[in-house]
Symmetry: C2
Subunit: 349 residues, 2 copies
C-alpha cells in the first residue's frame, strides 16, 4: 500500500537532468535555477515520489526534532505546558520527542544521549533531574521551564511578583494573618521566589504571616492527612483571626479547600484562599478558587521562540553561540474567584 | 563540547580492518565473528566514537520511533495514557513522537505524512479524526485505543461490562431508578458499549432507567449550567426515588457532584453516583467518587505489545501482515468509594 520508492535514476530519465543535478536538487536546491527546481518538483509529483526524510536529515543535519523532558504528566501543569508546546507544530513544523523522566537521572541521561545520537536540534527541559551545567555541556540548544537554569536559557513565570499578588489578594479581603503553604523549594528553583515575594509583601505592609513548608507525598491520601493536620493547627493557633492561605499550586489548593469544606460544611468566614497556576482544577473546584495564573500559552511560546532562535543560529555556516544564557520572565496574572470574596460564599448551617 | 565524529577511515587504521569490514560491523554485524565485533567495539570506545543514529536509521530502516496522536492533553484520561506509554521506554527503547490533534484532520494528515517520511516504525492513535480505513492504508503498523477500529488493531476497555458494573453498583445500594448521563457516542466508538451494557443490566434486572444524552461543551462553565439543569430535571421527575447516576467519565462526575453539593450542601440521600475511568479527579473529589476503572497500565502495555509484535514482523525479510486486525479487550474494575455507600456520607444541615 506504500507509495513506491522512486530512484534518482528514474527522476533523471524522466527529466533529462543528470543524476548529479537531481542529487543537487535534494541537497543544495539553490544551486539550481528556480525553473529547473520546478521541473524536478513537477516530475516528483508525477512519479509519486515519497520523501525520505531520513536521507534528507543525513544530508542537511536538519532533523526538525525537539526533545521535551517532563517530570510526569499527572500534574496538570506539565500536561498543559506539553499541550501548548505540541500545538506549536502548526507554526514551526518541529516534531516533539517526549519523555517523562520520573526523576531517574540514569534513564534520563540515556534518553538524552539517544536524542543526541538522533541529531535532535534542541531540547526543552521541565524535569529537575540533571543540572543545567551538565545540560549546557551537551552542546545542543536547550531551554528550561521553571527549574534550575544557571547555565542554560530559560523561561519562567514572575514567581516573585506572583507571591506578592497572592498576598495582595488575601490582604485586600481583610485577612489578619497570611499563611503560605509550600514545600521546601531550594533557592535555585524559580518557584522559590513565590516564598520570597510573599514574605516581602508581608514585610513591606507589616502583615502578620507564617510560612509552612510541608513534605508532600506522592500518595494523595497521605496529603489529605497532612492537610487536615495543617488545618487543625491553623484553627488552634489563629482561632479569632481571618486566615489568608496562599498555596503553592492549584492541586494542593483544591485539596485544602475540600478538607476545609469537609470539616466545616463550607468555606468558613475566617478563611480566604489563593492557589497558583490557574490549572483547570482551580476553576472546577467545589468553590471556584482564586489563583495566580501562569500564562502557559506565553511560557510555551517564549520557550519555542528562544529555542528556534538558537537552532537557526546552529544552521549557519559559522554559528555564534550565545555569550550568556537568556532568561525570560513571563508576568503572572491574579485571577480573583470565590475564595477571596467577602460575602457568604456557601450555604452556612 | 560535542564528542568528535570518528570516521570509518580512523576505525580502519586503528583496528587494521578494511573500511568494508568496519562498514559491515555497523550494517550487518553478524557477518563478522564475535571476536572481530568485540575488537571494533573496543576501538570505538577508545576513539570516542559517537553513534550517529540517523546514519544507522538510513542503513537499517529501524528508527525506533513511534508516533502517538492524542486529541488533547487536558483530559486526564489522555495525559495518563500518554504517561504510561512514555514509561515503556525503559522496557522497549522506543522513542515517542507526540502530537495533539485538536480534531483538525488536515493538520493531523500532514503530521502523519511527516512521520511516515521519517520512517517511524508504528503509530498509536487515540484521536478520532481519521478513519481506521485511511489509517490502515498508510502501510505502517497501527494500534488504536478507544476509538473506531474496524480496519486496525486496537486495545479497548470492556466498556459493555463496565456499563453493567456501574449499574450493578448503583442497584446494590438500593437505587429505585438508574440514570446514565453520556454524550451521543456513535455506535462504532467503543465507549458506546457503556450505554448498551448499562441498558442490558437494567433490562435483565427489570430496573427503571433513563439514558440522558447531553451535548457537552468545551467550555467548563457551560457544562456547569447544563449539569444544574439536569439535576433540576431529575429532582422534579423523580422526587421520591433514590436516583443512581452513572456518568460517562470522572471529570463529568466530579462536576455533577460539585453541582449537587452546591445545591444541597451535601450529597443528598436520594442520590448515588458512579463515574468512569478512575482518573485522579474521582479519588480527589470533595466526596471520593465510586468509579469504573479503566486499567490504563494494562491498556498501554497491551497496545505496545501488539505494536511491537507488528513492528518486529516488519523487520523480517518477508513480513507476513496480519490477516485480520487484533482487537484486545481489557477488563474494567469496579472501584467502590463514598458515593455508593449507604450511610450519611457528609455532614447534613
Amino acid at each position: 500500500m506504500r507509495k513506491k520508492e522512486v530512484t534518482f535514476k528514474e527522476i533523471s530519465e524522466y527529466t533529462g537532468f543528470s543524476k548529479t543535478t537531481v542529487s543537487r536538487y535534494f541537497n543544495d536546491p539553490d544551486s539550481l535555477t528556480l525553473e529547473n527546481q520546478q521541473k524536478i518538483a513537477d516530475a516528483l509529483e508525477v512519479l509519486g515520489y515519497k520523501e525520505n526524510k531520513v536521507a534528507r536529515m543525513l544530508a542537511s543535519g536538519k532533523t526538525e526534532f525537539i526533545g521535551v523532558i517532563v517530570p510526569n504528566l499527572f500534574l496538570n501543569y506539565y500536561s498543559e505546558i506539553l499541550n501548548k508546546l505540541l500545538s506549536t507544530y502548526e507554526k514551526y513544523g518541529y516534531k516533539f520527542l517526549v519523555f517523562a523522566g520520573n526523576e531517574q537521572p540514569e534513564t534520563e541521561r540515556k534518553y538524552i544521549s539517544e536524542l543526541l545520537a538522533y541529531k535532535i536540534e534542541g531540547m526543552i527541559i521541565l524535569s529537575h533531574t540533571i543540572s543545567s551545567e551538565e545540560l549546557a555541556s551537551y552542546g545542543v540548544p536547550v531551554v528550561s521551564i521553571e527549574r534550575e537554569d544557571k547555565y542554560i536559557c530559560s523561561v519562567n513565570s514572575d514567581n516573585f511578583n506572583g507571591g506578592e499578588q497572592a498576598a495582595q489578594m488575601l490582604s485586600d479581603c481583610g485577612c489578619d494573618v497570611l499563611i503560605h503553604i509550600n514545600s521546601d523549594v531550594p533557592p535555585e528553583i524559580p518557584a522559590h521566589k513565590r516564598i520570597t515575594g510573599f514574605k516581602e509583601f508581608c514585610r513591606q505592609n507589616n502583615i502578620a504571616n507564617e510560612v509552612l513548608l510541608v513534605d508532600w507525598s506522592g500518595v494523595f491520601s497521605e496529603n489529605v492527612v497532612k492537610t487536615e493536620e495543617t488545618i487543625n493547627y491553623l484553627d488552634e493557633k489563629y482561632p479569632d483571626k481571618r486566615k489568608g492561605i496562599f498555596l503553592s499550586n492549584d492541586n494542593t489548593a483544591a485539596n485544602f479547600l475540600n478538607c476545609l469544606v469537609r470539616k466545616h460544611s463550607c468555606l468558613p468566614d475566617d478563611y480566604r484562599m489563593v492557589g497558583f497556576d490557574n490549572s483547570s482544577v482551580s476553576a472546577e473546584a467545589i468553590i471556584p478558587i482564586s489563583t495566580i495564573e501562569q500564562q502557559i500559552d506565553k511560557i510555551a511560546g517564549e520557550a519555542m521562540e528562544i529555542l528556534v532562535m538558537q537552532m537557526n543560529e546552529q544552521k549557519k555556516r559559522r554559528p555564534v553561540p550565545l555569550k550568556e544564557p537568556v532568561h525570560k520572565i513571563v508576568p503572572t496574572v491574579a485571577i480573583p474567584r470565590d475564595t477571596t470574596k467577602n460575602r457568604e460564599i456557601t450555604k452556612q448551617k
